[in-house]
Protein backbone atom coordinates (compact mmCIF):
# COMPACT_ATOMS: atom_id res chain seq x y z
CA UNK A 1 0.00 0.00 0.00
CA UNK A 2 2.73 2.42 0.99
CA UNK A 3 4.59 1.69 -2.23
CA UNK A 4 1.50 2.19 -4.36
CA UNK A 5 0.74 5.46 -2.65
CA UNK A 6 4.34 6.65 -2.99
CA UNK A 7 4.20 5.73 -6.70
CA UNK A 8 0.98 7.66 -7.03
CA UNK A 9 2.53 10.58 -5.16
CA UNK A 10 5.62 10.46 -7.38
CA UNK A 11 3.43 10.55 -10.46
CA UNK A 12 1.47 13.44 -9.05
CA UNK A 13 4.71 15.37 -8.51
CA UNK A 14 5.67 14.82 -12.12
CA UNK A 15 2.33 16.32 -13.14
CA UNK A 16 2.63 19.25 -10.75
CA UNK A 17 6.12 20.03 -12.09
CA UNK A 18 4.79 20.51 -15.57
CA UNK A 19 4.36 24.15 -16.68
CA UNK A 20 1.23 25.92 -15.67
CA UNK A 21 -0.33 27.64 -12.69
CA UNK A 22 -0.33 25.75 -9.37
CA UNK A 23 -4.04 25.66 -8.99
CA UNK A 24 -5.85 23.24 -6.62
CA UNK A 25 -6.87 21.23 -9.69
CA UNK A 26 -3.25 20.87 -10.82
CA UNK A 27 -2.14 19.83 -7.32
CA UNK A 28 -4.85 17.19 -7.05
CA UNK A 29 -4.06 15.78 -10.50
CA UNK A 30 -2.83 12.52 -8.99
CA UNK A 31 -6.45 11.72 -8.16
CA UNK A 32 -6.99 11.04 -11.84
CA UNK A 33 -4.16 8.52 -11.78
CA UNK A 34 -5.10 4.85 -12.22
CA UNK A 35 -2.69 3.79 -9.46
CA UNK A 36 -4.17 6.32 -7.04
CA UNK A 37 -7.60 4.81 -7.74
CA UNK A 38 -6.19 1.29 -7.31
CA UNK A 39 -4.73 2.22 -3.91
CA UNK A 40 -7.96 3.94 -2.87
CA UNK A 41 -10.12 0.98 -3.93
CA UNK A 42 -7.79 -1.44 -2.13
CA UNK A 43 -8.08 0.63 1.05
CA UNK A 44 -11.87 1.14 0.86
CA UNK A 45 -12.56 -2.52 0.01
CA UNK A 46 -10.53 -3.47 3.10
CA UNK A 47 -12.48 -1.09 5.32
CA UNK A 48 -15.83 -2.32 3.97
CA UNK A 49 -14.81 -5.97 4.43
CA UNK A 50 -13.73 -5.21 8.01
CA UNK A 51 -17.17 -3.67 8.66
CA UNK A 52 -18.93 -6.65 7.05
CA UNK A 53 -16.95 -9.35 8.91
CA UNK A 54 -18.56 -8.97 12.38
CA UNK A 55 -22.04 -9.24 10.79
CA UNK A 56 -20.92 -12.31 8.82
CA UNK A 57 -19.62 -13.92 12.01
CA UNK A 58 -22.81 -13.08 13.95
CA UNK A 59 -24.96 -14.72 11.25
CA UNK A 60 -22.83 -17.88 11.16
CA UNK A 61 -22.89 -17.85 14.96
CA UNK A 62 -26.67 -18.40 14.80
CA UNK A 63 -25.85 -22.05 14.10
CA UNK A 64 -24.86 -22.38 17.75
CA UNK A 65 -28.63 -22.47 18.42
CA UNK A 66 -29.15 -25.08 15.72
CA UNK A 67 -29.70 -25.43 11.97
CA UNK A 68 -33.16 -23.82 12.06
CA UNK A 69 -31.82 -20.53 13.44
CA UNK A 70 -29.21 -20.24 10.68
CA UNK A 71 -31.70 -21.45 8.06
CA UNK A 72 -34.17 -18.76 9.07
CA UNK A 73 -31.63 -16.07 8.28
CA UNK A 74 -30.38 -17.68 5.06
CA UNK A 75 -33.93 -17.71 3.66
CA UNK A 76 -33.70 -13.91 3.81
CA UNK A 77 -30.84 -14.02 1.28
CA UNK A 78 -33.39 -14.81 -1.46
CA UNK A 79 -34.33 -11.12 -1.53
CA UNK A 80 -33.02 -9.41 -4.72
CA UNK A 81 -31.40 -6.59 -2.73
CA UNK A 82 -29.46 -9.14 -0.64
CA UNK A 83 -28.32 -10.91 -3.81
CA UNK A 84 -27.02 -7.60 -5.12
CA UNK A 85 -25.24 -6.97 -1.80
CA UNK A 86 -23.66 -10.45 -1.98
CA UNK A 87 -22.34 -9.67 -5.46
CA UNK A 88 -20.82 -6.44 -4.16
CA UNK A 89 -19.15 -8.51 -1.43
CA UNK A 90 -17.71 -10.88 -4.04
CA UNK A 91 -16.32 -7.83 -5.85
CA UNK A 92 -14.82 -6.41 -2.63
CA UNK A 93 -13.25 -9.76 -1.73
CA UNK A 94 -11.82 -10.31 -5.23
CA UNK A 95 -10.52 -6.76 -5.68
CA UNK A 96 -8.90 -6.74 -2.22
CA UNK A 97 -7.32 -10.17 -2.77
CA UNK A 98 -5.96 -9.35 -6.24
CA UNK A 99 -4.97 -5.83 -5.20
CA UNK A 100 -3.12 -7.31 -2.23
CA UNK A 101 -1.27 -9.74 -4.52
CA UNK A 102 -0.24 -6.72 -6.62
CA UNK A 103 1.08 -4.94 -3.52
CA UNK A 104 3.05 -8.03 -2.45
CA UNK A 105 4.46 -8.38 -5.98
CA UNK A 106 5.56 -4.74 -6.05
CA UNK A 107 7.17 -4.97 -2.62
CA UNK A 108 8.91 -8.31 -3.11
CA UNK A 109 9.74 -8.44 -6.81
CA UNK A 110 11.39 -5.95 -9.11
CA UNK A 111 8.32 -4.99 -11.11
CA UNK A 112 9.47 -2.03 -13.19
CA UNK A 113 6.52 -1.49 -15.49
CA UNK A 114 2.97 -2.50 -16.31
CA UNK A 115 1.53 -1.24 -13.02
CA UNK A 116 -1.36 0.63 -14.61
CA UNK A 117 -2.28 -2.25 -16.90
CA UNK A 118 -2.22 -4.69 -13.98
CA UNK A 119 -4.43 -2.41 -11.86
CA UNK A 120 -6.98 -2.20 -14.69
CA UNK A 121 -6.90 -6.00 -15.23
CA UNK A 122 -7.54 -6.52 -11.49
CA UNK A 123 -10.56 -4.21 -11.60
CA UNK A 124 -11.90 -5.96 -14.70
CA UNK A 125 -11.40 -9.47 -13.24
CA UNK A 126 -13.07 -8.50 -9.96
CA UNK A 127 -16.03 -6.90 -11.73
CA UNK A 128 -16.37 -9.97 -13.97
CA UNK A 129 -16.37 -12.29 -10.95
CA UNK A 130 -19.08 -10.20 -9.27
CA UNK A 131 -21.27 -10.11 -12.40
CA UNK A 132 -20.86 -13.86 -12.96
CA UNK A 133 -21.79 -14.48 -9.33
CA UNK A 134 -24.86 -12.26 -9.63
CA UNK A 135 -25.98 -14.05 -12.81
CA UNK A 136 -25.43 -17.42 -11.15
CA UNK A 137 -27.55 -16.68 -8.09
CA UNK A 138 -30.17 -14.69 -10.01
CA UNK A 139 -30.92 -17.09 -12.88
Amino acid sequence: MATIESNARANSQVRSLTPGPRTPVANSGYRRNVLWHAAFIHRMSGVLLAIFLPMHFLVLGLAIEGEAALGGFIAWTELPVVKLAESVLVFLLAVHLLGGLRVLAIENAQVASGHRRLAIIIMALSATAAVLFLLMIWL
Binding site: G46, L53, F57, L58, E67, F133, M136
Partner: protein, 113 residues
Protein backbone atom coordinates in the same frame (compact mmCIF):
# COMPACT_ATOMS: atom_id res chain seq x y z
CA UNK B 1 3.65 -2.36 18.84
CA UNK B 2 6.45 -1.08 16.61
CA UNK B 3 5.65 0.02 13.03
CA UNK B 4 7.99 -2.59 11.55
CA UNK B 5 6.26 -5.36 13.52
CA UNK B 6 2.85 -4.11 12.33
CA UNK B 7 4.14 -4.03 8.74
CA UNK B 8 5.51 -7.59 8.92
CA UNK B 9 2.35 -8.95 10.62
CA UNK B 10 0.16 -7.23 8.00
CA UNK B 11 2.09 -8.88 5.14
CA UNK B 12 2.39 -12.26 6.91
CA UNK B 13 -1.36 -12.41 7.60
CA UNK B 14 -2.00 -11.47 3.95
CA UNK B 15 0.21 -14.32 2.73
CA UNK B 16 -1.54 -16.79 5.06
CA UNK B 17 -4.93 -15.67 3.75
CA UNK B 18 -4.15 -15.90 0.00
CA UNK B 19 -4.84 -19.66 -0.37
CA UNK B 20 -7.65 -19.49 2.20
CA UNK B 21 -9.37 -16.63 0.33
CA UNK B 22 -9.00 -18.37 -3.03
CA UNK B 23 -10.58 -21.50 -1.56
CA UNK B 24 -13.29 -19.43 0.16
CA UNK B 25 -14.16 -17.61 -3.08
CA UNK B 26 -14.31 -20.93 -4.96
CA UNK B 27 -16.51 -22.36 -2.20
CA UNK B 28 -18.85 -19.34 -2.33
CA UNK B 29 -19.40 -19.96 -6.05
CA UNK B 30 -19.75 -23.72 -5.59
CA UNK B 31 -22.06 -23.59 -2.56
CA UNK B 32 -24.42 -20.94 -3.92
CA UNK B 33 -24.75 -22.12 -7.54
CA UNK B 34 -27.92 -24.09 -6.76
CA UNK B 35 -29.09 -22.19 -3.70
CA UNK B 36 -27.56 -21.79 -0.27
CA UNK B 37 -29.07 -23.66 2.67
CA UNK B 38 -28.07 -24.02 6.31
CA UNK B 39 -28.23 -27.81 5.94
CA UNK B 40 -25.72 -27.72 3.07
CA UNK B 41 -23.29 -25.51 5.01
CA UNK B 42 -23.51 -27.51 8.22
CA UNK B 43 -23.31 -30.91 6.49
CA UNK B 44 -19.87 -29.86 5.30
CA UNK B 45 -18.60 -28.27 8.50
CA UNK B 46 -20.28 -30.23 11.32
CA UNK B 47 -17.70 -32.20 13.30
CA UNK B 48 -15.00 -31.52 10.72
CA UNK B 49 -11.48 -31.03 12.08
CA UNK B 50 -10.34 -29.83 8.64
CA UNK B 51 -12.91 -27.02 8.38
CA UNK B 52 -12.36 -26.09 12.03
CA UNK B 53 -8.63 -25.61 11.33
CA UNK B 54 -9.30 -23.94 7.95
CA UNK B 55 -11.75 -21.36 9.30
CA UNK B 56 -9.93 -21.01 12.64
CA UNK B 57 -6.71 -20.04 10.82
CA UNK B 58 -8.73 -17.78 8.51
CA UNK B 59 -10.34 -15.96 11.45
CA UNK B 60 -7.01 -15.37 13.26
CA UNK B 61 -5.30 -14.10 10.08
CA UNK B 62 -8.29 -11.89 9.16
CA UNK B 63 -8.46 -10.43 12.68
CA UNK B 64 -4.75 -9.52 12.58
CA UNK B 65 -4.93 -8.16 9.01
CA UNK B 66 -8.11 -6.11 9.52
CA UNK B 67 -6.94 -4.68 12.85
CA UNK B 68 -3.64 -3.44 11.41
CA UNK B 69 -5.38 -2.20 8.26
CA UNK B 70 -7.99 -0.19 10.19
CA UNK B 71 -5.21 1.22 12.39
CA UNK B 72 -3.35 2.40 9.27
CA UNK B 73 -6.47 3.99 7.79
CA UNK B 74 -7.25 5.67 11.13
CA UNK B 75 -3.68 6.99 11.36
CA UNK B 76 -3.89 8.45 7.84
CA UNK B 77 -7.41 9.86 7.91
CA UNK B 78 -8.62 10.26 11.51
CA UNK B 79 -6.06 10.66 14.26
CA UNK B 80 -2.38 10.37 15.18
CA UNK B 81 -3.18 9.82 18.87
CA UNK B 82 -1.26 6.63 19.87
CA UNK B 83 -3.82 5.60 22.48
CA UNK B 84 -6.71 5.89 20.03
CA UNK B 85 -4.75 3.94 17.42
CA UNK B 86 -4.00 1.21 19.98
CA UNK B 87 -7.70 1.09 20.82
CA UNK B 88 -8.56 0.65 17.12
CA UNK B 89 -5.86 -2.02 16.74
CA UNK B 90 -6.60 -4.16 19.78
CA UNK B 91 -10.37 -3.47 19.79
CA UNK B 92 -10.78 -4.60 16.17
CA UNK B 93 -8.56 -7.62 16.75
CA UNK B 94 -10.47 -8.78 19.84
CA UNK B 95 -13.96 -8.24 18.34
CA UNK B 96 -13.11 -10.09 15.13
CA UNK B 97 -11.24 -12.86 16.94
CA UNK B 98 -13.98 -13.57 19.48
CA UNK B 99 -16.93 -13.31 17.04
CA UNK B 100 -14.99 -15.27 14.41
CA UNK B 101 -13.99 -18.14 16.68
CA UNK B 102 -17.55 -18.27 18.02
CA UNK B 103 -18.81 -18.57 14.42
CA UNK B 104 -16.32 -21.38 13.71
CA UNK B 105 -17.46 -23.17 16.87
CA UNK B 106 -21.11 -22.71 15.80
CA UNK B 107 -20.70 -24.30 12.36
CA UNK B 108 -18.50 -27.14 13.65
CA UNK B 109 -20.71 -27.85 16.68
CA UNK B 110 -24.18 -26.59 15.62
CA UNK B 111 -26.89 -26.63 18.27
CA UNK B 112 -24.37 -26.71 21.11
CA UNK B 113 -25.84 -23.70 22.93
Amino acid sequence: MTPIRLYVLQRASAVVMIPLLLAHLALIFYATHDGLTAGEILSRTQGSVFWALFYGTFVIAAAVHAAIGLRSVSADWLTRNPRTLDLVLYGTFMVLLLLGLRAVWAVVFPGSA
